[in-house]
Symmetry: C2
Subunit: 388 residues, 2 copies
């Protein structure tokens, strides 16, 4: 196990009706002028928007609002948010939505207290030293942004999707009411589940040895997802299954499953290029890429895949380790298929002729991608091609 | 799943040499005058005391010290600590030791900012509204107090051991260096492991349904302990096994395994009376009591024990659920025996003639104890007697 630090001071208010506490939570964490940040029409249609506004008004908390966050959130709206926060002297951002809205809020939170271009943080040109505090009301179990220090934004000028990370960006509080996720369409639910499982896999496939406790935690989250996801696909109103998935989604990405070990993240980065270029739903892109990555790196570094097969997918240990490992990946592929996820470029509108471009954008000036196996340019091209 | 809140803002600095950061951690969390609180001679013998003192001195942090915490920490030393903190205007407590030292520190932290008797908090007569911040350097993986809001103290005037709980008592930081636990004797190591497993079981045996994610997390910690404990008993210097156990010990009791579900705690409370009366090592007392509790309540509420047998102890499902469940408990008993833990009153110096007294002190004016099965006075007596 490697040395590590772990600090996850987000306050979680979990359960039915939890959004009713949002005004007192904002006040508890020092908010007095709020930016209410959200996405499209779904929170208006569901009545959540009205309930939140009414709660803020009753508590006498002044707020301005900025809607319009789209999946794979864009830099343009972030600039707008930053300007609004500065002009209105906002001191707290409330994100109501999924990972895109929360990630957009985090960008605004850091950008509002920075003199330069907020994209500096995403391009490695500057380190976040200050950020407005944020709180969230989560409406999709997927990105884990509700409990993480991470944010991903697409730069509209270059169509490059990049992440930034700072402990200052961890939400002060997150309201997790599984009821709010019951109206999600099956495809979005399944894509969210795929993202959650991918967050765990990026941590599970590690070359750090002797990490039994975090291995077991990773397996716990994956086993939960394998059990609960088909239940919500079958019955979208299954509160209990939604609840287990929602909490699993937080655990998958607040790094409790990832401390003390090297992590991979190649599949996420390879997918980000697809999302940026074709506006693919991130989880759906991961469903295409991650099993291809697995089949490719299995040939080079098979050890962890045997554990994955035996412990996560209950494959009986056999004489041939590689066959056992392959059966695990096959089980994962079948699972993704069973919940309606795509597995090819065609299904997500990606094109063979863009593979060179995708690879160029991914690697930039870097020579390799990922960690479990360090992928060269040729490796990445091979993985993209195996999705044709 | 029940509604819940979860907030665990302890900063963990984990790994080899982590105690070197203690001065900067104290400063980071606002400490400027420190009470250094510790137990007996072991931290002096190991050189840890000298290293901590030297680190504080180098950083120019003034401190006073109070040693002498014994296992099953006593009220007398807490009064002394409170007086010292008030007199010396201490604003931060650094606990260097195991659960007893940390629990004693928590009592001093709350008592120093309270005008009445600190035992009011432990007797349900007052609620903790203020407490000095504390930090810890952990030397035993066992109690989980390094990441929990809990504290247990023995009132010397009555020999009653009682707990208190407040979010204000969660340590601001905890330094977890597994190397510091390598000198622990096998018996203390095994008792610590038993305590860790018991913390999980108190949460696992719940009547709340549809808690797949927390069930799986509980099983993850238990499986880790089953794998790692024999390895450290075999080889006390096994850093990797010590590391996995140390982190598992924190996870077992910061409530990440317990949110959203009813919890039991009968075994802990039944054991506390043994510790208070005979000064038994808490984990050893749990090794005697918990399997007896299991065998007794299995007859009344067997469901969760089947899961425990199949998922934690890899018992193959059979036609007869009760037999499967019994095999799980038997496996737990054999495990405890294999790591050198006791299973009878005799082995821990407890006496049959005290059973009425133990039960009286346990129940006080309450009619039942525990939750998974609500134990009456007769039930508790039966459990104590089955340990003869």
């Amino acid at each position: 196990m490697d040395n590590f630090t772990f600090y996850a001071p987000t306050y979680f208010d979990f359960g039915r009706g939890a959004e009713e506490h949002v005004a007192e939570l904002i006040q508890q964490f020092g908010g007095s002028r709020v930016l209410l940040h959200y996405g499209g029409g779904s929170i208006k249609k569901s009545g959540l928007y009205d309930r939140v506004v009414s709660t803020l008004q009753k508590a006498g908390i002044p707020f301005v609002e900025l809607g319009g966050v789209r999946p794979n959130p864009r830099s343009g709206l972030v600039y707008e948010g930053i300007e609004l926060c500065k002009k209105e002297k906002v001191d707290f951002i409330l994100a109501v939505g999924g990972g895109s809205t929360i990630d957009s809020s985090k960008a605004i939170a850091a950008g509002s207290l920075y003199d330069g271009d907020f994209l500096d943080f995403y391009q490695g040109k500057a380190v976040i030293e200050k950020a407005l505090p944020i709180g969230t009301i989560l409406t999709i179990a997927a990105a884990g942004s509700e409990g993480s220090p991470n944010t991903v934004i697409t730069d509209e000028s270059t169509q490059i999707k990049k992440g930034a990370k700072s402990e200052l960006l961890r939400p002060k509080f997150s309201v997790l009411n599984p009821e709010l996720t019951c109206t999600l369409p099956a495809y979005q639910t399944a894509a969210g589940a795929t993202d959650i499982m991918a967050h765990v896999c990026e941590r599970y496939f590690s070359n750090t040895e002797e990490v039994e406790i975090t291995d077991r935690l990773c397996e716990a989250v994956l086993k939960t997802m394998i059990y609960e996801t088909p239940r919500v696909i079958e019955d979208p109103d299954n509160y209990e299954a939604r609840a287990n998935i929602m909490w699993a989604g937080m655990l998958a990405h607040n790094n409790i499953c990832g401390v003390g070990r090297s992590q991979d993240w190649a599949s996420h980065h390879i997918e980000h290029e697809l999302s940026a270029l074709y506006d693919v739903t991130h989880g759906a892109g991961l469903a295409v890429i991650m099993p291809k990555w697995m089949r490719y790196v299995l040939e080079i570094n098979p050890d962890k895949f045997v554990l994955f097969a035996e412990r996560v997918w209950d494959i009986k240990p056999g004489m041939n380790k590689k066959k056992t490992a392959q059966k695990g990946i096959e089980a994962f592929e079948n699972f993704l298929k069973s919940i309606g996820m795509p597995s090819t470029f065609d299904e997500i509108g990606a094109k063979e002729e863009d593979i060179e471009l995708l690879t160029d954008k991914l690697l930039g000036s870097r020579k390799t991608e990922g960690n479990y196996v360090k992928l060269t340019r040729e490796d990445v091209i091979h993985i993209y091609k195996s999705a044709l």
